[in-house]
């Protein structure tokens, strides 16, 4: 636009403004943002064990990061209230990775180098895990525990995964889908690592059980128009849509699929990250019959899970509830498995804890017991298949026992 619209401010004025602004900015920088320290209450003789949480409190993944940090607070408070670990209190240091991998590396480096934490928990997306794992495990020589369901294939030493793997999410789920949907699958997906690797696994299981993959299609992660794929699905007689698109695309896709009459014609929708958080993304009738497979649903209705759910809701509200799809149950499991290992090892040294973790077991938890499978750094847990009915989940199948992660064997 033309310059004459407003007179230029005087030179000296500009300099003063510049000085004001730089001092404000440097002040803000000095204060630092996104770091939270939760000290245990006074009265401890021993120095605290430091637990670092690096998770996305802000940005698009914030919906999962916030309850991840909350469950950590809850678990650590419980441990401190019951006398701490090996006679020492736990100090929690939470860093906001802000759904930004570059920033996360700096924040995580602060955790391992400056705070010298004894263990790091966190990361939600696979890209985040890949970005921060080297800083923690190799350069930082620190133990790392990753809580989210993911695509598998992560066998880095000293990195433990406490969320479900493709084997846990697909091995019983896909045969169930074939039985309760049909043999023709379509795999619409967001174009990033998790759907690509998960689909490869899912395709194998589908074909092994006599099903066939009619199409596997990748969309940009923020894609928001799905008429072409909906038309392909409808015109090729697909029985099961195994969805790995992610929001913001998912609600548009599900709505277009519903409006085209996919469910009315007997189609089955499946999505393995769908939990209580995601139920409200679309009107209930548009995802009626959607099937998911996770390590915990509120509908599992186990006494342990119910008690934890209520305690969590009481302390932090229900805006971001205890849910498996946002890694909250994985974080709970990780923290408690680690605490067990520390007790057993009577040490917080990385090698001692890692050795003890190999045989760490939890008698109970949200969704049931769990244990680390020795030599694999992955966790065996109970799995549940749930179907959405009128805006709620109904559990249709429970695993008879622990389901093996099938990774790094």
């Amino acid at each position: 636009m033309s310059e004459e619209k407003q007179d230029k401010p005087l030179e000296s004025m500009e300099r003063r403004l510049f000085l004001q602004r730089t001092s404000l900015l440097s002040g803000l920088l000095a204060l630092g943002g996104g770091s939270y320290l939760l000290k245990p209450k006074d009265g401890w003789a021993a120095a605290p064990i430091k637990v670092g949480i690096a998770t996305d409190l802000t940005g698009p993944i914030g919906y999962a990061g916030v309850p991840n940090a909350n469950i950590a607070k809850l678990v650590i408070e419980e441990i401190n209230a019951s006398g701490g670990l090996i006679g020492r209190p736990i100090q929690l240091i939470i860093e906001d990775t802000a759904t930004n991998e570059q920033l996360a590396v700096t924040r995580v480096r602060k955790l391992v180098q400056r705070d010298k934490v004894d263990v790091v928990f966190g990361g939600i997306t696979s890209s985040m895990r890949n970005a921060i794992k080297d800083t923690i495990v190799n350069r930082g020589k620190t133990l790392y525990i990753y809580p989210q369901l993911y695509e598998g294939l992560e066998c880095t030493k000293y990195l433990y995964c406490t969320g479900p793997t493709p084997a846990q999410q697909c091995d019983t789920f896909i045969p169930w889908l074939i039985k309760n949907g049909g043999k023709k699958f379509y795999l619409p997906s967001a174009d990033y690592v998790w759907p690509h690797v998960l689909n490869k696994y899912a395709r194998k299981v589908i074909e092994k059980h006599g099903g066939e993959v009619i199409g596997e299609e990748y969309f940009p992660v923020d894609h928001n128009e799905y008429s072409a794929v909906v038309n392909k699905i409808l015109s090729s007689g697909v029985n099961v849509v195994f969805n790995t698109t992610i929001p913001p695309g998912t609600p548009v896709f599900f709505k277009q699929l519903y409006e085209a009459g996919f469910q009315k014609k007997g189609g089955r929708l499946a999505c393995v990250y769908y939990d209580e958080n995601t139920l409200n993304i679309t009107p209930a009738n548009e995802i009626e019959g959607l099937a998911s497979c996770l390590d915990y649903f509120k509908a599992v209705n186990d006494p342990f899970g119910n008690a934890l759910y209520d305690k969590f809701a009481k302390q932090f509200g229900t805006k971001n509830p205890l849910a498996a799809g946002s890694a909250v149950t994985g974080m709970w499991r990780g923290l408690n498995l680690w605490a067990e290992a520390v007790k057993k090892a009577n040490s917080v040294k990385r090698d001692d804890v890692a050795k003890a973790l190999e045989t760490a077991k939890l008698e109970d938890g949200p969704g049931g017991p769990s244990e680390i499978v020795p030599g694999t750094q992955h966790t065996a847990m109970h799995m549940y298949i749930a179907v959405a009915k009128a805006g709620k989940y109904e559990i249709v199948e429970r695993s008879p026992g622990l389901v093996q992660p099938g990774e790094c064997v």
Binding site: F219, P251, K255, E259, T282
Partner: protein, 304 residues
């Protein structure tokens, strides 16, 4: 061989465009997506072409419109009331921001981009905090689809197409056939002369910005049943909206509409033929090629 085909069955799917049963939904979806796009770009186009400001907070104005509908629905108000309220609510926010911040940027378009970008982040993160970062659905006043035999046509998308046409015509009439429109165009072409002729350009700019914000609010309100509300709702539209304005020609209001229709139509149509990931890229390539040959934009003659 067409890109992205894995086996013979998929090839059959791709070939079905010739079938009338899929040609009608194809046409409808391209039309509906173009309409949504035009609706989003309208407000951006008005501000960009009339004031020379690229408003990076436009996506967040759309978000605020959607949020208005969501909040009102939470209190039990039907969503159509929210949709009528949304443009007014967002207009108020737009006016406030224009008076507080935007008006200081008119002389420096680059600073304006950064400034509006900052406003965008603040608005987006505020809504994210309010929503707990989650997605929520908002009911459309009309749900479901018209079913004609094998065909099903989304009712709400049909409504959006109709409203877009109405809003487009009304905006055009406002800018070309009214005294206000004349003042706006005068302030655009020669601010000094406009001021000399007794037009308060600062007030005209405030009104234009408010009008653009109101259009964004309307777009957000109408779109939210399709996209569900989330803090990042406006983000995917922003870059392509700028592409549309650039394609159409920055100086003209009609240009932005043509650009938007074109970008919307190609974005919706290309995935029917090729891999969506490639299609997404191709939209930009096509636009850049067009701009290469018509750097002044498609409708450069406009009113400049």
């Amino acid at each position: 061989m067409i890109l992205g085909i894995r086996n013979a069955k998929e090839a059959r799917c791709q070939g079905e465009l010739r079938d009338p049963m899929s040609f009608v939904p194809f046409l409808f979806d391209v039309l509906a997506y173009s309409a949504i796009f035009v609706l989003v770009v309208l407000g951006l186009g008005v501000i960009a072409s009339m004031m020379g400001i690229f408003n990076f907070a436009h996506g967040e104005f759309v978000l605020l419109g959607a949020y208005t509908v969501y909040v009102l629905q939470q209190t039990g108000v039907p969503s159509w009331v929210g949709m009528i309220t949304a443009p007014f609510a967002v207009a108020m926010v737009g006016l406030l921001l224009e008076r507080l911040a935007i008006q200081r940027f008119y002389a420096t378009p680059i600073v304006a981009m950064l400034g509006t970008y900052a406003i965008a982040m603040a608005l987006r993160e505020a809504v994210r905090a309010l929503l707990g970062g989650r997605f929520y659905n908002v009911d459309a006043p009309l749900v479901g689809a018209f079913v004609l035999g094998e065909l099903s046509i989304s009712k709400w998308r049909t409504v959006i197409i109709i409203i877009t046409v109405i809003v487009m015509v009304l905006s055009w009439l406002l800018l070309t056939r009214t005294k206000f429109g004349l003042q706006v165009r005068a302030s655009l072409e020669n601010p000094a002369l406009a001021r000399a002729s007794g037009i308060s350009t600062s007030r005209v700019y405030a009104a234009t910005f408010t009008f653009g914000a109101a259009l964004a609010g309307l777009a957000g309100g109408l779109m939210v049943p399709i996209y569900s509300i989330s803090a990042d709702m406006g983000v995917p539209f922003l870059i392509k909206s700028f592409l549309a304005v650039m394609l159409g020609g920055v100086g003209s209001f009609e240009g932005s509409i043509v650009g938007a229709a074109l970008v919307g139509a190609t974005s919706a149509a290309l995935p029917w033929a090729i891999k969506p990931v490639v299609a997404d890229l191709l939209v930009f390539v096509i636009a850049i090629v067009i701009v290469k040959f018509r750097p002044q934009g498609l409708l450069s003659l406009g009113r400049r």
